[in-house]
Amino acid sequence: MHYARAGMGRLVRGQALVAKDGFSARYDLDRVRGVFSRPEHKLAGQSFLGRVLVLDAAKGGVATAWMLHEMTARGIMPAALVLNAVNPIMVQGAALADFTMISGFDLDITAAIPDGALVEVDPGERPCIRVLA
């Protein structure tokens, strides 16, 4: 169990997709096909649909604030976002989209969660991520 400093959204379970890399909906994603599309990204070519993304830091510009809402409306979404470092845009986007996100850990969360593990993200009173299997 790893506790985060902040969280929003609802409790979700899913398969973790983990990388020591950043996240920006505009810069990194093909939001039509549901895959990471920036060639330099460590998850390039991988599908993010229904996955719990465990990444290092929020990157890029302000577009994600709208894009999480747009992706949610089309159902082309990850299940949750777990970040070492968040920026305001991710928070604003998650707030508009009612999307699950937790952030801020005492360790590098991308090193603590095994890629492919089944995890539970609880953004409640004490936001946390736990490995189920």
Binding site: A6, G7, M8, G22, S24, R26, Y27, D28, L29, D30, V32, S37, R38, P39, E40, H41, A57, A58, K59, G60, G61, V62, A63, T64, A65, W66, M67, H69, E70, T72, A73, R74, A85, V86, N87, P88, I89, V91, Q92, G93, A95, L96
Partner: protein
């Protein structure tokens, strides 16, 4: 968060459902980010291109326009970031009718909400630059970092929903760069080479952005051998914000809050060196294995009048034999027309676009429709963004970009 009587009334719906949504959204964001209360802001700047909004976002916004004017109109001067098209040139970009129709709907919404449709990401050069200490709620990372760093204003990255919220409530949660504590340097960058070309300033910004790593880092740069121009600061800041998600930098002896390093230094600040070799390596990382390009784009940020003049000078007596796009603001465009710059650029085969930004204009669909893949630009910010849209971007100076456009896209001698 501590709320005033007015804020509590807003939250209870006394000012209508839109302002109620706005302050609820702001409380959610502020609570996540540790804001103790709200701070009044004097301006807001909304990024809301329709590729980002999608059908869902436009429809959500349209729902609010049925409210009476006193419940739906913004309370403070609120301006817009670039749109997703220049309607006059949409056919040349091969944009589809559905894109233009969605843009028209979004524009109608923002006009109904009382937003001034300035359609610019260089408002600090053309509309009304903020003043040192002024609290604002700006969207567009390039606008925020320039306003915070060069002007000494105070803003966080305010995405479209939050900037709209700030316009409607006249305030924003007090966290991040509204607070003195977050404005101190966390990283000292010693520069051993002062860039000359705009793409070099962008490259330096990209390198420092990668070193910084996340939004809460504040680089202080020392060693720059002269005061950069506004356009140089613009490209440096835009790239720094793009590569690092950074919202504030100091340039010691130059930017207003860092007349001396001691003014901004923090005890935990670590030091990194950046030299000319780093800048060359950054540029070459994009040019590697690309011998030719399909299109040349000057955008992100929109071009100032001075950049438009530089481009016109470079194109005089030449002819671009591949598409060359120059994107500027609706404020600069009439002056460029009046001064003959637009005519000179277009006589040489270029296309001048206004009020849009290339990457905010359905860049993937435009690439597919035009058969473009390899793209040359002098904007490091643009090179960082376009890879995800399927382009292979190349970072070169404006002069080399023009040479390339006039050589059928072939790079180099």
């Amino acid at each position: 968060m501590n709320l005033t009587d007015e804020e509590q009334a807003m939250r209870a719906g006394a000012f209508g459902p839109l302002r109620q949504w706005a302050i609820e959204h702001q409380i959610k964001v502020g609570s996540y980010l540790g804001a103790a209360d709200f701070v009044p802001v004097s301006q807001a700047h909304i990024m809301a291109d329709t590729e980002s909004l999608g059908e869902a976002g436009v429809a959500w916004l349209e729902g609010w326009t049925r409210l009476p004017p006193d419940q739906r109109r913004v309370r403070i001067p609120t301006i817009s970031d670039p749109r997703g098209t220049d309607f006059a040139a949409a056919a040349r970009l091969k944009q589809q009718p559905w894109m233009l129709e969605r843009e028209q709907r979004a524009i109608a919404v923002f006009e109904a909400l009382g937003v001034l449709m300035t359609d610019t990401c260089i408002n600090y050069q053309t509309i009304m630059p903020p003043v040192r200490g002024e609290h604002v709620a700006y969207g567009d990372t390039g606008v925020v970092i320039y306003s915070n760093s060069v002007c000494g204003a105070r803003s966080n990255f305010e995405g479209g929903p939050s900037a709209l919220g700030a316009g409607l409530t006249g305030r924003t949660p007090r966290y991040g760069f509204h607070l003195d504590a977050h404005r101190r340097a966390t990283l000292l960058v010693r520069v051993g080479f002062s860039p000359r070309e705009l793409d070099e300033w962008g490259a330096l910004g990209g390198i420092v952005g990668r070193l910084a790593g996340d939004y809460w880092q504040v680089p202080a740069v020392v060693g720059v051998d002269r005061v950069p121009t506004s356009d140089e600061m613009k490209h440096f800041g835009a790239a720094l914000a793009s590569y690092g998600s950074v919202a504030l930098f100091h340039m010691v002896g130059i930017t207003p809050e860092a007349q001396r390093l001691e003014d901004v230094a923090s005890p935990t600040m670590h030091t990194r060196d950046v030299g000319e070799a780093d800048i060359r390596a950054f540029q070459q990382s994009y040019t590697r294995d690309i011998g030719a390009v399909d299109v040349v784009v000057f955008s992100a940020p929109q071009l100032s009048l001075i950049e438009m003049r530089q481009l016109a000078d470079l194109l005089d007596g030449r002819h671009a034999t591949i598409p060359l796009l120059a994107v500027t603001s609706p404020q600069v465009k009439p002056d460029a027309d009046r001064l003959g710059l637009t005519a000179r650029i277009e006589a040489a085969g270029g296309t001048v676009l206004a009020g849009m930004c290339f990457y905010q204009s359905y860049a993937r669909e435009v690439r597919e429709a035009n058969g473009w893949q390899r793209l040359a630009t002098n904007s490091a910010k643009l090179t960082n963004i376009l890879g995800g849209y399927g382009y292979r971007p190349v970072l070169m100076s404006m002069a080399v970009c023009v040479e390339t456009a006039c050589a059928g896209g072939r790079i180099g001698p």
